[in-house]
């Protein structure tokens, strides 16, 4: 198979790529990587991603790391398949890129920290650091205030259509909805509507269900 994904179903970054492939209705092979055994930090994985992190995409001869670079590549290369996750209009796509950066630079920082403290650490038997949770909850609230204003004027973050700018939030968003952080999303009307919309997408649900089927 031409498209292969090396990753772990525990990794939000891996889920980001798998769900993207589902949105694009593409065939792919999923190759599990054992995070607990430290597989990403050793060869042969390091030759795929020198940062020793999942996921990695192989498409023919091309090998890519960084989940958002991977989803961008998939969205452009397979633009005609499945859901269009980008815009062909350069001005509209410029706005999509702005909000993709907002997710990557502002939302991700807080969401990933909170996901780690409230979801991943407990699974792996470690104690949550309440001070960190408090700090990052406040940071996330500030970001969500901006989202609330934006989504009052625009159906999706990048514009009228669902794009990578919304899509990239799904893996951490899904985790956080199972924690007390859900209140931050629920208490903002437009953010709440947007969350319900994107979490209900069949492609996301299908990718997420892989965790139960393994």
């Amino acid at each position: 198979m031409a498209i292969k994904v090396h990753g772990s179903l525990l990794s939000t970054a891996t889920m980001r790529v798998l769900a993207c492939l589902e949105e694009k209705e593409l065939d792919y092979e999923f190759i599990p990587v054992n995070l607990r055994a430290g597989e990403p930090k050793k060869e042969p994985f390091l030759s795929l991603n020198p940062f020793g992190q999942v996921p990695v995409l192989e498409d023919g001869d091309l090998k890519l790391f960084e989940s958002r670079a991977i989803t961008t590549y998939i969205a452009y290369t397979y633009a005609k398949n499945g859901t269009p996750l980008i815009s062909q209009d350069p001005k509209k796509m410029a706005m999509v890129f702005v909000w993709m950066e907002v997710e990557a630079q502002r939302y991700e920082n807080a969401a990933a920290k909170l996901t780690w403290e409230l979801c991943i650490k407990p699974i792996t038997g470690r104690a949550t650091d309440d001070a960190v949770v408090e700090e990052y909850e406040a940071k996330l609230a500030t970001v969500l205030d901006v989202y609330e204003d934006r989504l009052a004027n625009s159906k999706y973050l990048g514009g009228d259509c669902f794009t990578l700018a919304d899509f990239h939030h799904l893996p951490t968003l899904n985790y956080l909805m199972g924690t007390k952080i859900k209140a931050l999303f629920d208490s903002r009307i437009h953010v709440n509507t947007w969350c319900a919309d994107i979490l209900a997408r069949p492609a996301w649900k299908k990718a997420f269900a892989m965790k139960d089927n393994k």
Binding site: F51, F65, E66, I70, Y76, P90, E101, A104
Partner: protein, 223 residues
């Protein structure tokens, strides 16, 4: 000469200087519009309409207003694909994907520890906040791990995404400039042979030298 392209923000801001370098590489004429951060101009209602997070830079041309320096840089490279440094963001989809990968690596792996170090080693002092020694040590270690990856990579290729200078290398210029020249952390880079060679090359580019000149020619504080 009037031009539709405007960039708002002081050249000393890392994110502003990232876009300045990109505009210069692509030979794009622009107007730089000062924003006085010390006076909080970026938090005023008119500016917040342009950039809802109240930060610099903001980019405007005849048809669009954008924020986030890496998104602005991507837009500039696409819009002005046929002028200036034509390979800055690749000339085919595979090249673009590889550059994107290293640009994201900069944003996700390099930028976070360097931002903390810049704050702790310079701004904290200026703002009279006590330095956090643990945080400095932790982030130096994180940065060292990233630079170890770069050291290997730059032993295999001249620049991060291949043999040509691209947006991925450019994106590292602002924070590295600070760490080397204002935070006394040059050794992190120069002690690694390939990283040191790479830093010398990218910081010697005429376009980057022009940006540094712009940074040094502005008064640090308003009169």
């Amino acid at each position: 000469m009037a031009t539709a392209v405007k960039l708002y923000g002081p050249p000393l801001s890392a994110a502003v200087s990232r876009v300045l370098a990109c505009l210069l590489e692509k030979d794009v004429q622009f107007q730089l519009i000062p924003i006085n951060l010390a006076r909080g101009e970026q938090k005023k209602p008119d500016y917040l309409k342009l950039q809802p997070f109240g930060q610099v830079p903001v980019f405007q041309d005849e048809s669009i207003t954008l924020f986030e320096s890496r998104a602005i840089s991507r837009y500039i490279c696409d819009k002005y694909a046929n002028q200036g440094n034509k390979g800055l963001f690749g000339t085919n989809p595979s090249e673009k994907a590889s550059i994107d990968q290293w640009l994201d690596a900069e944003g996700q792996n390099f930028n976070p520890p360097t931002s903390v170090l810049l704050f702790q080693l310079t701004l904290a002092l200026r703002m009279k906040i006590k330095q956090d020694e643990n945080l400095i040590k932790q982030n130096e270690e994180k940065l060292e791990k990233v630079l170890d990856v770069y050291e290997n990579r730059l032993g295999e290729s001249r620049y991060l995404a291949g043999d040509e200078f691209t947006l991925a290398d450019l994106s590292h210029l602002p924070m590295t400039q600070y760490l080397v020249n204002a935070c006394d952390r040059g050794e992190l880079f120069t002690s690694r042979k390939n990283v040191g060679r790479w830093w010398d090359e990218i910081s010697s580019r005429e376009t980057w030298k022009k940006v540094v000149e712009m940074q040094n020619s502005r008064p640090r504080r308003s009169a």
